[in-house]
């Protein structure tokens, strides 16, 4: 795992946005995997990333016409056009602002008649397009990734999930502080679904995420901090701001800062294609 630290959350967003755009632009289509496939999160942390991607689209750096997307999760029990649904979030923050092809976007349908089938079909459609190339994610204050709340199996797949009481309370503010209106259930990709992506990039910003960040990086792999599963991912990148490093040890921060320097030197020497031999498309020092 690599950890890249930037001063502010805007810089974090710019870094990841540029990173994803480079990935899309260097993608080589294959017959069994014709499109770049991007996994996407919702929430406030990734907003600066979306903002950067929209900027890059507007100045002509990147096009999303041929990009296929899969979102992480969606509530069960609120309509698709509800102001707090993840369909609405994605349309407002990203889809309506770029040239993405609507039929290339996938979001779990929380209103589906058969929720089990909806989850199985979702996994199947990820396979159909040749798997996810890059899964962008965030983490919760309790270290959850997607709606894989503490205690979720680290080998879980797309499924129905009951939300943790803490998450429900936290979401209350989006539903007029009416606890009864907050959805109790969600559909979410599993930890394993994320782990199978070729590359995972996490955006972690703000001091309220600092404990979760330290637990997922400095603690062991643990189902109470589901994002810690990424420690076993061959190609995971966490980008955080200075605020989020508050609970990390100084030693940890220094180590990852030095890695970034070495990484730059490796790339300067071998170029980003040097690691093609590793099947990764990019050199990695971690």
């Amino acid at each position: 795992m690599r950890l890249t630290i930037r001063d502010t959350k805007v810089e974090v967003g710019n870094y990841i946005g540029d990173y994803i755009a480079r990935r899309i632009n260097s993608f080589k289509p294959r017959p069994d995997h014709p499109n770049f496939v991007l996994g996407l999160p919702t929430g406030s942390s990734p907003l600066p990333v979306y903002k950067r991607l929209v900027e890059l689209y507007k100045n002509g750096t990147v096009s999303f016409k041929d990009v296929v997307t899969f979102n992480m999760d969606e509530y069960v029990g609120i309509p698709r056009d509800h102001s707090e649904s993840y369909h609405t979030f994605m349309f407002k923050s990203f889809f309506s602002l770029v040239d993405i092809t609507p039929s290339n976007t996938h979001i779990l349908d929380g209103e589906a008649e058969d929720l089990y089938k909806e989850c199985e079909d979702y996994e199947a459609s990820i396979k159909d397009v040749g798997g996810i190339d890059l899964f962008l994610g965030g983490i919760g204050a309790d270290g959850h990734i997607a709606f894989n709340e503490p205690g979720s199996s680290l080998t879980s797949r797309t499924r129905i999930k009951t939300l943790a009481y803490e998450t429900i309370l936290d979401n209350c503010r989006f539903f007029n502080n009416d606890l009864a209106a907050v959805p109790r259930m969600a559909l979410t990709v599993g930890v394993q679904t994320v782990m199978e992506a070729r590359e995972v990039v996490l955006v972690v910003t703000g001091q309220n995420k600092s404990l979760a960040l330290s637990q997922m990086i400095e603690g062991g792999v643990n189902h109470m901090v589901t994002a810690s599963a990424l420690q076993t991912h061959p190609w995971a990148l966490v980008v955080c701001d200075e605020d989020a490093t508050s609970e990390l040890r100084v030693k940890t921060v220094k180590y990852f800062k030095s890695i970034e320097k070495v990484q730059d030197e490796v790339e300067a020497k071998y170029g980003p294609s040097g690691s093609l031999r590793l099947g990764l498309g990019r050199a990695s020092a971690a």
């Binding site: 698709r80 056009d81 609405t88 309506s96 609507p102």
Partner: protein
């Protein structure tokens, strides 16, 4: 490709008088405003066309509830002697105005007829049922200004044609003039009448209940009489300040209705800078901004393309046009109004120091509320895609009716960029 058009890179005029930076989606086939999000996830197709507003303001189409004519057409002139030929000619005239008026951002209007011979009404009102032609503004119904007006406040209306409702019950006279069919027909039925004219007060409730919008105008009424009319159902005051007693601090008259919190009364205002002094406009607007309705009260000579100078009008009469001021040639007598709505909006902005999106409410949301026009006057999902694009000076750039572009400023060319 879909028939969906997306307006982007501009601002939307909202019903609270503000503007927000947002996209608007319309369907060309159904002619209504749709949810871009529902369309995205349901049709799974991108919009068929994207229009770049280039920072301009997208507003609901403008609505004019008092327009006597334009482009050489007078809505009060029906040649009864020629029978059906006269009616055909009348409809043609109506269609000319509907087709051309869209250049002023107007997408709906209520043709207004000034006091006519009694026998003309039943014929005329029938011709003024709602009418929508391709590429033209909607004709919403009729506005009958008269004949139950007060002689002291008749303005340009003919003294000899004014009437009272002196029958028993008075509604019989009113029904006889407009025709029961005319009072009960589809669409907008707006009648300007003076509640202080004999019998009129007794008819207000009956008319309001059958869907007629009663507007107090050409009246010498005291505030008490005007208030009683509003309590019986009258909803509007016709061209405030004009053809009514001027406000007196001990006897405010009809104007005293303004701003009554228990009786919301809309009022028409001609903001051409001539019919009311700019400061008078400011006072009225300050007293009751939620019920202000801009009207052109335009005459047949209204035509923004007509150059300044002397033009023929009626036989033996010429008029002289100097900008938006039109006088009978050789005199200083105003020959009626001929300022199109965008000019009135710009004036209102300047006279009252309000921003454009707020000024637009006076000819979008307010007239739609006044006339209970469901589906018009707001940029809202499910509402009609009657639109008007304006720059921030209040100049019209393009006009859309039922989802189709019906007019565009020549200087903007034909592409997908407006501004």
């Amino acid at each position: 490709m879909t028939d969906v058009i997306r307006f982007t890179n501009g601002y939307l005029a909202m019903p609270d008088g503000t503007a927000i930076k947002s996209d608007l989606y319309i369907s060309q086939s159904t002619g209504v405003i749709i949810s871009g999000q529902s369309n995205f996830y349901s049709s799974l197709l991108p919009p068929g066309r994207t229009i770049d507003l280039d920072g301009c303001l997208l507003s609901p189409g403008l609505i004019d509830v008092q327009i006597n004519g334009a482009y050489g057409v007078d809505f009060s002139e029906l040649d009864l002697a020629s029978g059906s030929e006269g009616e055909t000619k009348y409809i043609e005239g109506l269609e000319v105005v509907a087709r051309r008026i869209v250049e002023t951002g107007c997408t709906s209007f209520v043709p207004t007829i000034i006091t006519q011979k009694e026998e003309l009404y039943s014929k005329l009102l029938r011709l003024l049922a709602p009418r929508s032609a391709e590429g033209s503004a909607h004709v919403l119904g009729y506005h009958a200004e008269g004949p139950f007006l007060h002689p002291l406040r008749r303005g340009a209306h003919s003294q000899t044609l004014l009437m009272t409702a002196s029958s028993n019950p008075p509604i019989d006279t009113v029904e006889k003039v407009y025709g029961a069919a005319g009072l009960d027909q589809q669409g907008v039925k707006l009648i300007t009448m003076a509640p202080d004219v004999e019998g009129v007060m007794d008819c207000v409730e009956n008319l309001s209940k059958r869907g007629v919008t009663v507007s107090i105008g050409h009246s010498d009424a005291t505030l008490e009489v005007a208030t009683e009319a509003v309590d019986k159902g009258a909803r509007m005051i016709t061209h405030l300040f004009n053809a009514m007693p001027p406000i007196h601090h001990r006897d405010p008259g009809v104007i005293g209705l303004l701003g009554d919190p228990r009786r919301k009364t809309y009022y028409g205002l001609i903001v051409d800078g001539l019919h009311s002094h700019p400061n008078t406009v400011r006072i009225a607007y300050g007293a009751a901004r939620e019920s202000c309705v801009l009207v052109t009260d335009a005459q047949s000579i209204m035509d923004p393309n007509l150059p300044d100078g002397v033009h023929d009008w009626r036989p033996g009469v010429k008029f002289r046009k100097e900008g938006h001021r039109v006088v009978i040639d050789g005199t200083n007598t105003l020959a009626g109004s001929n300022s199109p709505l965008p000019t009135c909006i710009q004036n209102l902005m300047h006279f009252t120091s309000i921003p454009l999106p707020e000024a637009l409410l006076t000819c979008t949301l307010h007239p739609a509320e006044l006339l209970n026009l469901g589906g018009k006057g707001q940029l809202k999902e499910g509402f009609e895609a009657d639109l008007c694009v304006l720059d921030w000076e209040g100049r019209v750039r393009s006009t859309w009716v039922a989802g189709k572009e019906v007019w565009r400023d020549d200087r903007l060319g034909k592409g997908d960029r407006l501004g």
